[in-house]
Symmetry: C3
């Protein structure tokens, strides 16, 4: 049985308010391309980023962080060991399996890390399909499948991890064992800036410090949609869009999340 | 015998159009300082960047990429091994020998990689002189020689590799076994932003997916000149210039490359 | 005995003028999050940054650089070895002990590097307290103590190193064996952009090439205060602030440093 609601839930507003109050320490083990943009996005949002990603420190740091991101974009040997430490600290964490499927080192690591049960897996459709074993994987950070194509794969992953899976696309899917939310809106300009999706995963990790996984993933997706729409409305290209996006993340008010973005949530009982 | 033409060739327009249609996957093994700017420049231009730079993956990825960049700016041990894998995949590739000459690790690697015959070598005059064995090398990314000083060195490298050499400077030189092109114009503001030259090398790697090496190097130089001039005309300093430059890379139309930049091509028969 | 003066010393103006004339080569062994922003800040200021951070090259490069920065934000194994090489080259250097205290790898390295007597140690109050052995350390790059709380710890470090300690905060403290300077002003927006403090340490390293340590630290703090105030006055959020800050670093004139920022210097005899 599916119960459909098409009103925005109040949770994103509450979650953003809680994030701003807590300024949660968020550990990011992430790829070399997006560290700066990710840290700036988290600071703009109101979280406290820290990119502690070396063995011998990553596990300790994860123990004091409110949320952890493990992004496999450029997984050096030290980052792989740091990730293994961090995910066993007991802090809720997000897995972003960048380009998993085609590339063996990260694919093996992603499957290994699944045993540590990420609270959220965030990826594009190709990555979610590959991680679930039902697709060939992406050719990098580009999705060659639509988010909806990955719904079954996402559901199967949530059953394995007990967590939430977020599939980024023109419409984002947020999936757990029983619920499916769809967030539409946002701006395609976000895909012309590197790290838009990676920073979204980091925002989910921050929100894990203040709200359950499904709400954290949903809230981050809604924030991204609102901020990217606003930024796009006053920019002329990808360079100025990236700058404006950071400004909008800082300017966004919790109450703004109740408007302007359509969220559909289905519950399967 | 030298045949001189001073009309802009039609190739850059065609090459940019082909790049936009193909959105070629471009693998960048590049330095930690410029990964973000490089990825954003390629996205703005219409290519698909991927910074896959670890051993065990770099060679596989190079096999599916349309072009590969190896930039030696911060060559960690893993990046050096990744570079060795990538250049033997059979995909045309660009060598950017940052600060070669003075620094032994990258200098040894650059000479080793020459055997894998880069389709394009891109550097400033000091780097090209050092790589050809006729100069002391730069003191980093700064050129202390003018591009024209490196013409003979560039030619000797093209004979060794069978490829093209691009020497960046106030006027860029593009050299192969028989041709020399000069691209003037552009803005000096580009030298006040880190990664302008590194991202140019990445653009050449993208263009290798759709056009021969000489045309790829020439097209990228022309794009850089046009976009930097346009960006400089509406900015007040290096921060806003970098943002505007990305906007202009996205806004540039193939036909814009026929205008505004003077290209002289000499052919030695 | 304390002699207090509340007039701005003429040194910052002279030091910035000397920096612009010398364009000193500045080696940065720094964290992955801020490499790009740091390089752009140094270029905007008029220095020549180079991020040479691998073993086998870092020591050689430090020998030709005018100043060296060692920032412990993401200290990989290779960076740790590179730092050990660089600090023994005889070139004056800055230690930025990011998040020292709580994290064992960097804490051990920071204490080891102290024996090589950094000309300047720059950190927030929590880091300075932890490095001096009188605090628990920060939880990352956030200061949880005020700069003034770290005055005694800073003084004890200057006695150990013979150098200067700069404590960043709402009011910056610059301390050596006998002098204490306080720089107020600036904008809190700087704390919403990652790397503001890290790039400040890099600017101090550049200034070490042209002026003694105390003056280098003071000048960089004054530049940061003036440029951040100016940038804040024309921006709407952290994204546009970061861009404007780079523009203002480039636009700032040496004479601007005599105005607008209050510097108090005490001398203890």
């Amino acid at each position: 049985m599916v119960v459909r609601t098409s009103s925005s839930p109040s949770t994103p507003t509450e979650a953003l308010r809680a994030l701003r109050e807590a300024a949660p320490l968020t550990q990011c083990i992430t790829n070399a391309v997006v560290t700066n943009f990710t840290a700036n996005a988290l600071l703009a949002l109101g979280a406290s980023p820290a990119m502690c990603d070396i063995p011998g420190e990553a596990g300790i740091f994860a123990g004091i962080a409110g949320g952890v991101l493990v992004n496999l974009g450029t997984p050096t040997r030290e980052q792989r060991d740091a990730a293994r430490e961090a995910v066993t600290a007991g802090t809720p964490w997000v897995l972003d399996p960048v380009a998993v499927g085609a590339l063996p080192v990260r694919t093996a690591l992603a499957h290994e890390l699944l045993d540590a049960r990420p609270a959220i897996i965030r990826g594009n459709a190709s990555e979610i399909l590959a991680l679930a074993g039902s697709g060939a994987g992406g050719r990098g950070v580009d999705a060659t499948d639509s988010a909806e194509d990955a719904l079954d794969a996402a559901r199967s992953l949530t059953i394995r991890t007990g967590g939430t899976v977020a599939v980024s696309g023109e419409t984002d899917l947020i999936v757990d064992a029983t619920r499916t939310a769809r967030v539409s809106g946002g701006s395609a300009l976000l895909t012309t800036v590197t790290g838009g999706g990676c920073a979204l995963g980091a925002a989910m990790a921050s929100l894990l410090a203040v709200t359950p996984a499904f709400d954290a993933a949903l809230t981050a997706s809604v924030i991204w949609a609102v901020a990217s729409e606003r930024a796009a409305s006053r920019t002329r290209g990808p360079g100025s869009f990236a700058v404006a996006f950071l400004d909008e993340l800082a300017a966004i008010a919790p109450a703004d999340l109740d408007e302007r973005v359509r969220v559909d949530t289905e519950v399967t009982r």
